[in-house]
C-alpha cells in the first residue's frame, strides 16, 4: 500500500474542501478503500477520515419514509426495527451482505460506492489491461474466468458486475441520494458503464454523500431481497432480486410492482419491462415467470456467466411469488 497523508475531518464542509485536493479520497468504513489500496488499485495521496463526523449516522423512519445518514453502519440499518418493518428488502439486502464484522464497519454511503470484484480489475500487477482502471488499455476479463461477471449493461469495453446488494433494494424502492447541493435518485446516481467503464457514478470531485432517503409505499412494506450465490453466506450474489408488491383489493391483481437485480449488471438494475408487463395482471406463477424473462432483453454473455441469463428470471419469479405469499 502506498503511503498517504491522513486528515481527520471535523465537519462535512471540511471534508468536502479537503477532498478537492488532487488524489484525495474520503475514508468511511475503509472496507473498500483499504482493500483496494492494498491491491494497488487505489493509490490515494491524501485520506480524509470522515468517521469522526457527528450527526451523519442517524436512521429516522416516519410515514413519509426513511432518512438514513451516510455514516450509519450496514448492521445498524439492517437491524433497525422500523427499517425491518417498513423496508424489509433494505434490511435483508444488508443482512445478507458481507459478514457481521464488515457490516459493523461499512457505512451506507461507502456501500453504494463499493467497486466491482472483477479479479482482473483487482490485480493491476498481473493484468495491466483494464478499461475501468486505465481507460483504453483493454479488458483482461474477456476470454478469462468470468463466472461472476455481468450480462446486462455491458460491452466489450467492460463486463464487470456491480456487486452491491443494498443498491438493488434502493433502486427498486425509488430511493434518493442526498448530496447536499442536489438530490439524485439512486437509479440515476449510477451510470451504465458500457461506454465509459471508468465513470461509475455522477459524484463529482469534492462532492460528498450525506445520506439517502427512501419513500414509504405499500410495495416497500411488502418487499423482499432474494440472493442466490455460490456459498450460503459471506458471498456476493450470483444473481439477486429486490422486489416490492402491492395487490388490488381483490388480493390478486397486481397494482404496483418493483423489480431490481443485483449481481448481473454493470449497475444496480431496475427491470422496468418486467414491472410494466405485470401491472394489472393476476399474480400467478406462469404469468410472472413469462414477464421475468423480459429482464434479460439485451443480455449478453461472453462466456461462463451464461447461466445468469437463465438464473436471474428464476430469482425474480421466486422473489415475487414469495412477497405475494405464494412461495
Amino acid at each position: 500500500m502506498r503511503d498517504f497523508s491522513y486528515f481527520r475531518a471535523t465537519s462535512a464542509e471540511d471534508a468536502r474542501q479537503a477532498a478537492l485536493q488532487a488524489s484525495a479520497v474520503m475514508l468511511a468504513g475503509g472496507t473498500t478503500l483499504l482493500d483496494l489500496a492494498k491491491c494497488g488499485v487505489a493509490e490515494p495521496e491524501a485520506v480524509i477520515d470522515i468517521t469522526h463526523l457527528s450527526g451523519l449516522d442517524g436512521i429516522a423512519v416516519n410515514q413519509e419514509g426513511a432518512v438514513i445518514g451516510t455514516l450509519a453502519k450496514m448492521a445498524a440499518v439492517a437491524d433497525h426495527p422500523d427499517i425491518k418493518a417498513w423496508f424489509p428488502a433494505v434490511s435483508e439486502s444488508l443482512s445478507l451482505a458481507a459478514s457481521a464484522q464488515l457490516r459493523n464497519m461499512a457505512t451506507i454511503g461507502g456501500n453504494l460506492l463499493q467497486r466491482t470484484r472483477c479479479a482482473y480489475f483487482r490485480d493491476p500487477l498481473t493484468f495491466p489491461a483494464c478499461n475501468k482502471r486505465n481507460p483504453g488499455s483493454g479488458c483482461s476479463a474477456l476470454g478469462g474466468v468470468i463466472r461472476n461477471h455481468a450480462v446486462l449493461g455491458v460491452s466489450e469495453q467492460c463486463i464487470a458486475s456491480y456487486p452491491g446488494d443494498l443498491a438493488a433494494a434502493l433502486v427498486a424502492l425509488d430511493a434518493v441520494v442526498d448530496l447536499g447541493q442536489r438530490q439524485v435518485p439512486v437509479d440515476d446516481f449510477f451510470l451504465p458503464y458500457d461506454h465509459a467503464p471508468e465513470r461509475e457514478t455522477v459524484l463529482q470531485p469534492g462532492e460528498m454523500i450525506l445520506g439517502i432517503s427512501i419513500p414509504a409505499s405499500v410495495a416497500a412494506r411488502n418487499s423482499t431481497y432474494l440472493k442466490v450465490r455460490d456459498r450460503q453466506s459471506y458471498e456476493f450474489a450470483a444473481a439477486s432480486a429486490a422486489v416490492g408488491l402491492e395487490l388490488e383489493s381483490d388480493n390478486r391483481t397486481i397494482k404496483d410492482i418493483r423489480v431490481a437485480l443485483g449481481g448481473v449488471a454493470s449497475k444496480p438494475w431496475r427491470a422496468r419491462a418486467v414491472e410494466q408487463a405485470l401491472i394489472g395482471k393476476a399474480l400467478e406463477e406462469q404469468t410472472v415467470a413469462r414477464a421475468a424473462r423480459l429482464a434479460m432483453d439485451g443480455a449478453v454473455s461472453y462466456g461462463d456467466n451464461l447461466y445468469k441469463i437463465e438464473l436471474a428470471p428464476r430469482v425474480i419469479t421466486r422473489a415475487i411469488m414469495k412477497v405475494g405469499g405464494l412461495a
Partner: protein
Amino acid sequence: MTRTIQLTLDINGHSHELDVEPRVTLLDALREHLLLTGTKKGCDQGQCGACTCHVDGKRVLSCLTLAAQVEGRQITTIEGIAAENGDLHPVQAAFLEHDAFQCGYCTPGQIMSAVACIKEGHTGSDEEIREYMSGNLCRCGAYNSVVAAVREAAEAAR
C-alpha cells in the same frame, strides 16, 4: 518519505502512544508496533476474520481499519478478554472444552467474533450461529466444534 503521525490508542483499557505512518492498519499497529500478536493476520483483505477485534464493543476487522481511525475508541483484543486474575473468558473456556480448533490460527478471531455474536443475541439456533459466524473462516474445518462452543457459551450466558 515517511510522515509519521502520533497516536494514542486505548487498547484493553490501557493507553498506548505510538508513532506510525498513516497507512498502518490497526492489525499491524497491534502486531508490529505493540507486540500484541494474539490478533492474527490471515488474508489481510477482509476475507477471513482472523484479525477480528472489538472497537467500542463491536466486532470489526483490524486489517481493514487504519490505526489512525480508531484513536479515541475503545479497542479490545484477544489479550484483553480474560479476567484480571487470569481466569479464561467463558467463550475461551468453551472453545477449549469443545476442541474448537486444530492449528489454532483462526481461533483468536473466532473467539472475538463469538463473544460479540453472543452479545448481539445471534445465537438462537445452530443455523443462526453459522450465519453470524460466517465471517470467520477456518482452514482446518473446525466449524462443528466452533458452533458447539458458541452454543454452549451462549446458553451459559443466558
